[in-house]
């Protein structure tokens, strides 16, 4: 049977805009960053126009990404702290990966994996921000000792690599759980999606409405 699908609002408009801003700047950063990191992928720096422009724009988009992330942070941080049930989810990680999440845990706004990813991304981005500023030529790097710059260059690339992996995981999850993407596009998800992945959140939402 098919009735008109019921939807619930998951992401506000500002959060969605911020998210896609982060996505866009992340893509540009990752592509240009990989171009700088892997000599053989140097052509990827052209995503920002030219290698020289990439050197200039990469940190600029870094700031954009951080700003977007600040909005996302404040939009989501309230739901990112550990709750009862997160432990349960963690213990059944293998079942979750097998697609049985709804059977092993009753997830609220976010599941424990999402929360961990959230803090990982925030943490990595914070390091990227600090190290990025320290190695930023020609505006800031000259004020730091070469040994500090050296360390930061390495940390920056290390964190960037981890961030790319983390964000890839995040994107993959969205791809794996069908019906997730629309939440970040339209702002709404289907009730069935919510009931499947975030039943406790749906309950709270509907409880409030009543």
């Amino acid at each position: 049977m098919s009735t008109k699908e019921q939807v619930v609002t998951r992401h506000s408009f500002p959060v969605r805009v911020a998210h896609w801003l982060v996505v866009l700047s992340f893509l540009l950063l990752a592509i240009s960053g990989l171009g700088l990191f892997f000599p053989s992928l140097n052509w990827m720096t052209s995503v920002l126009g030219s290698p020289q422009l990439a050197q200039f724009l990469h940190p600029v988009f870094g700031v954009v990404m951080v700003l977007g992330m600040v909005i996302l942070f404040f939009g989501n941080v309230a739901h990112a702290f550990p709750e009862k049930g997160d432990g349960q989810w963690m213990m059944h990680m293998v079942d979750v990966l097998k697609g049985h999440e709804h059977e092993v845990a009753e997830v609220g706004q976010y599941n424990a994996g999402q929360k961990m990813l959230f803090w990982t991304i925030i943490g990595l981005l914070a390091i990227l921000l600090v190290t990025g500023i320290i190695v930023w030529q020609p505006y800031f790097a000259p004020f730091f000792a070469v040994s500090i710059v050296r360390l930061c260059l390495f940390l920056h690339s290390l964190c960037a690599v981890l961030l790319i992996m983390a964000i890839f995981m995040h994107a993959y999850m969205g791809f794996w759980y069908k019906g997730t993407l629309r939440g970040m596009v339209y702002g709404t998800v289907t009730r069935s999606w919510a009931k499947l992945h975030h039943p406790r959140w749906l309950r709270q939402l509907e409880g409030k409405k009543k």
């Binding site: 990966l97 791809f175 069908k178």
Partner: protein, 293 residues
């Protein structure tokens, strides 16, 4: 054939599987030998460097010492550094011409992410090809001698070229040409090492028991070498590093770290792909029916 060197033993950010053009490698390694024991610190080399290379620093200020400009800059590719040492009641004024050392294993080149922005010629000269420079400053971090300098105006990094333009047509670098006392010499690295031996021997005969040649192995030797009266303590000469080498961090970052990262990415993507193929998508509608059933 266009004007090109074809003698690049190394080229920054270039994969070793496809090395740079280097057929014209039948060249002797060159070296500049700076004999600090007969250097009078006249700065003629500084002036000649600016003169030949058409660089003009801003007129600065006195900083309470003879050094001026105080440091290397994008337009000052060599500076004289003066250090006063008093030991056993005897004053020594150690004067050193500072600038790029043209390492055999250049840290700048290793760090550089821009293909062809830094090259090493067959004769050992390490040169910055500025049109390829992107201004990231990695070379600054890569250099064990703190030499490259970023120009604020064009956002590119500069340093001594060892007058590659002069050397490639058979002339000595401008600083060598102008040095009035013969404290800066230029020739094949082999000849310069022989010359240095004589100088070291002469210095030892004057009581400088620790005289020696500074040609640090940590960077594979250099193409700018010093004769020092105190080769055991190079740091006396305004901080000439005792055992310079490419920072292990830079070595790791630009070395094994890259394949590790590539492998990491590959593993991540593979894991996701395999997972998707194994588990398949999770669709809410599948579960709706499951519930109803």
């Amino acid at each position: 054939m266009t004007l090109q060197s074809q003698d690049y033993l190394e080229r920054s950010a270039t994969n070793a599987l496809r090395p740079p053009p280097q057929a014209r490698d039948a060249q002797l390694e060159v070296a500049k030998l700076i004999d600090v024991s007969i250097c009078i610190g006249c700065k003629a080399c500084q002036v000649a460097c600016s003169g030949w290379n058409d660089t003009r620093e801003e007129v600065g200020f006195n900083h309470g010492k003879l050094d001026n400009p105080l440091n290397l800059t994008p337009k000052t590719w060599t500076v004289m550094r003066y250090n006063e040492i008093e030991e056993n009641g005897k004053l020594q004024w150690l004067i050193r011409k500072d600038g790029c050392m043209h390492c055999s294993e250049p840290g700048c080149l290793k760090a550089c992410p821009s293909p062809g922005a830094i090259v090493k010629h067959a004769n050992g000269i390490v040169d910055f090809v500025s049109e390829n420079c992107i201004g990231c400053g990695y070379c600054i971090a890569g250099c064990p001698f703190d030499v490259p300098r970023l120009n604020e105006k064009d956002k590119r990094v500069y340093k001594c070229t060892l007058c590659v333009d002069r050397v490639s047509v058979g002339q000595e670098p401008a600083c060598v040409k102008t040095c009035p006392t013969g404290a800066i010499r230029f020739g094949t690295k082999e000849d310069m090492k022989k010359l240095a031996e004589d100088r070291v021997e002469e210095l030892k005969s004057r009581g400088f028991q620790n005289a020696g040649l500074y040609d640090p192995e940590g960077v594979g030797g250099t193409h700018v070498m010093y004769v020092l009266h105190h080769a055991d303590r190079p740091e006396l000469y305004s901080g000439l590093p005792k055992d310079p080498k490419i920072s292990p961090l830079v070595g790791f970052w630009k070395g094994i770290f890259k394949p590790l990262v590539a492998a990491g990415f590959a593993a991540t993507f593979a894991a996701a792909a395999l997972h998707y193929m194994a588990v398949g998508p999770v669709k809410p509608e599948d579960h709706e029916e499951e519930e109803k059933a």
